[in-house]
Symmetry: C2
Subunit: 505 residues, 2 copies
């Protein structure tokens, strides 16, 4: 057995050991602030992407450290091997997937949150009230009633998965939660378009419904859900004895930014008596923009809406939000009260209701703080203008593409996503796809810009998704100019070398 008397003769801590060591660590903090501000203030002059080197990869394969290392040396290792190879979403020409840019104050807020270090789930302390206020602000942003509930999560996937669990349990009542899905009289089914984010299918798989429980409804030419097909599927499934319980509306599809017709989906959900969830990971925030407020007004009436704050609200990673109209349904899906979480009348164990009653997590950091500080720093009007500006920039890019003969627009631009390709009359589909993938990889490799990509009806698309508060008009000029330059260069080389670089018609 462990000899405690002996062991306690030389107690130690993970803190700096002496006042001098504290001073040294404090100075290191200041040095880090300088490093990060130098980076952020001059980010435009950096390449948007730098290929990780073999040296770095090898350095990041060394075994578990046994002995201590001076914190300055640790920071130097960070500066040498980590900082030079960023994801790039802090750069003005990052438009990959849908990833927000962050802000300087957001970064500092994360330091404050980490320093206070609360597990923000339970107890009577400031972080709990900050999170309540942030949720209230999120409800205001979405036009949700004050009595609705919500929770901050890591992002869109967790928000959507959480919503589907609530919808499932609300339909299955106590049965789903207590006895499980096998006890239900039929197969629960949910409906969303083929353009839905993959996390909707993941939600079905995770919560035991299975991938087949997601009925994937075809879309129209504008990539919005086909309502007639949806109604037919609902009718057929009910006739077959299945149990439709939820429709997931896409408010900004990941491929093209298409917005499903919310008013019509709401009417269908109400007629069917089923849940309407809106996956608005980025698109829900367009509700703030005057030109979109009518199209997105029905977000105020859906049963639940998921949206990210690290996407179009430019909060630093990670923070997303789920709002649920029926707070009791939300609570019923998750609340548990074991002996070690009993509420007390006074002391630290008093305070607001435990947040674990509204989600999966019992450990949760203080991600609410950056949201709180950022919304105060800028005010919602500024966010409204930035989001509107991002859409305007996408329309500007669309216009550029339509007037550039070498480029082809591949999908409508309903919001902030532009899908296009370089085209050549002399290439077949496979060759055009290969060519455009090569263009994309070179745009990255040369550090020019990082749009991402998708396939639209088999056509490889260079895909620009703009939630970047640092982008300016000229950045899109660069994207178009460089796409054309690289495309032409590849074709020129290919035509001299024949089929070695790419398959020609």
């Amino acid at each position: 057995m462990l000899n405690f008397q002996e062991l306690l003769a030389n107690e130690e801590t993970l803190d700096p050991a002496t006042p001098n060591d504290w001073d040294s660590m404090r100075r290191l903090g200041h040095e880090m602030v300088e490093t990060m501000f130098d980076l952020l203030q001059n980010i435009r002059s950096e390449p948007v992407w730098t290929k990780p080197t073999d040296t770095m990869k090898q350095f990041l394969q060394t075994p578990l450290p046994v002995e201590p290392q001076n914190p300055y040396a640790v920071f130097n290792d960070f500066c040498d091997h980590i900082l030079p190879f960023p994801k790039g979403n802090i750069h003005p020409r990052f438009w990959g997937w849908v990833q927000g840019t962050g802000t300087p104050l957001g970064m500092l807020a994360d330091m404050l949150a980490s320093g206070m270090n609360p597990n923000n789930t339970i107890g009577d302390h400031s972080a709990m009230y900050v999170e309540q206020q942030v949720l209230s602000w999120c409800k205001e942003m979405m036009g949700f009633p004050a009595e609705a509930s919500g929770i901050l999560v890591s992002g869109g996937s967790m928000a959507n998965i959480t919503a589907i669990i609530v919808a499932r349990n609300a339909f299955g009542e106590k049965l789903a939660r207590q006895q499980g899905l096998k006890a239900l009289s039929g197969q629960l089914l949910m409906y969303t378009s083929v353009e839905a984010h993959m996390c909707i299918q993941k939600a079905a798989e995770i919560c035991g419904l299975g991938a087949d429980a997601v009925r994937k409804v075809p879309v129209n030419a504008d990539y919005r859900i086909n309502l007639d097909a949806l109604k037919q599927m609902l009718t057929d499934d009910r006739a077959a004895g299945h149990l439709p319980f939820c429709i997931v509306a896409n408010v900004g599809t990941v491929n093209t930014g298409a917005i499903d017709p919310l008013d019509e989906l709401l009417a269908i959900a109400r007629a069917e008596g089923i849940w309407l969830h809106a996956d608005g990971a980025f698109g829900a925030l367009a509700k703030l923009v005057p030109e979109y407020s009518e199209q997105l007004r029905a977000l105020e009436d859906v049963d639940s809406v998921a949206f990210d704050l690290h996407k179009w609200m430019s909060m630093n990673y990670e923070v997303g939000c789920l709002l649920i109209r029926n707070a009791e349904a939300h609570r019923s899906a998750f609340a548990v009260m074991p002996n070690y979480l009993l509420a007390h009348e006074r002391g630290l164990a008093a305070g607001p209701e435990s947040i674990t009653n509204y989600g999966m997590e019992l450990s949760r950091g203080f991600k609410a703080l950056k949201v709180w500080m950022s919304l105060k720093e800028h005010g919602i009007e500024k966010y409204r203008r930035i989001i509107r500006q991002n859409i305007a920039q996408a329309l500007y890019l669309e216009d550029l593409i339509l007037t550039t003969p070498e480029l082809e627009l591949l999908a409508p631009v309903p919001m902030n996503i532009v899908c296009y390709r370089f085209c050549s009359d002399h290439l077949n589909l496979e060759a055009v796809n290969t060519l455009n993938k090569e263009i994309l990889m070179r745009l990255h490799e040369e550090g020019i810009a990082t749009p991402s990509y998708t396939l639209l009806e088999g056509r490889y698309a260079i895909r620009m998704a703009n939630v970047n508060h640092r982008s300016v008009k000229e950045d899109f000029d660069v994207l178009v100019r460089e796409t054309v330059r690289i495309g032409k260069e590849i074709l020129a080389v290919a035509s001299t070398k024949g089929a070695t670089v790419m398959p020609m018609v």
Copy 2:
């Protein structure tokens, strides 16, 4: 429609607008470093808990900010209303629930991570390699093979829920994921003791099995699972046609820190051909301590193990870890590859496999960085000593309680948790419970110490859980002395006032 030409005439950003504004924001960063280091360096002289004021609560109920506010004013609001009312787990006498303390470098690492701001799920950039290395280190810590897989998550709940989903799908093969639980031939069942953390039941509810699918096995007097009862339940359930698929071993129960007999559970799981998952939220880390290595050696052979890095590894909130022996089973439970996440050979879209193939999230911050920097700063040997020291301190407290006539030890102390109460021969159970709850609340209110509480066989226990690297021996002297003082004071007042303060026998 939105007039983009007009809107782009005056582009703006969320960054500081001028070089002067950048300087000002940078100075604010330095000011924040000073504030946080002053706090951390002097934390011992602060009360462990301060009751939130009405002024603060009102301040945190104002509506969504519309107009911008100077960042210094935002920070002042933080200093006035948020910083004075912390959770307290950075304090040397915080022993509530099981919540780690954090470190100064951990706080700074979170600033660096937030400044780089990657969504760390996909792509060829440094954060992906850092996370791979951290997972390798976690495998080394647990004695898991290099070819095992894993994922960093927000904490123990997410780690346990993720593990149960993998175990469920591994048992149900493609059926569970594709067609859902209704397609399975029987009811899946999992087994854990009545002392298991509530997230195990939540996992069953979330993943569609239902709370009833968790067979709660009785415990012995030492709060460890009763193996005979477990075997009987397995036999009975199989006879009834049910499908046992998983046992969850508790490696450190939340109430008392009991460690289930791992070797025996492993033998049972192997004989039954089912999954053995270890919930080692804090306790798995005791594997590093020589006196526990034998008892916890079987952690190297379980199918999966969940443990928190923000608990006994003192990482700042939030970061937990799940390791899974069978990487293919792990991947099979979550991998999806939509068009917008296609792997590329080169450029940003190349790089390691997407982390979303191993978990629920597609948005994930760079929580790996603080783990990487902290393990390098201290080396694993130092963590080993700190964890051992925390157990020694718990044994020291146990010894103090056993030698203090006013106090009663309520459970064995197998690790770092001590449950005790103030006792009086003149009070019935209800009155003793009320008295001890009152003592606990006053310990909090007077800012002395924040143990938490639980109920053990109906007896209210003051519960000290020690994962605090700042605690020293004298802090436990204070806890005992003040518990006795407060208990006596309450009894003295009660005896003069009669039954108004508390029910007497």
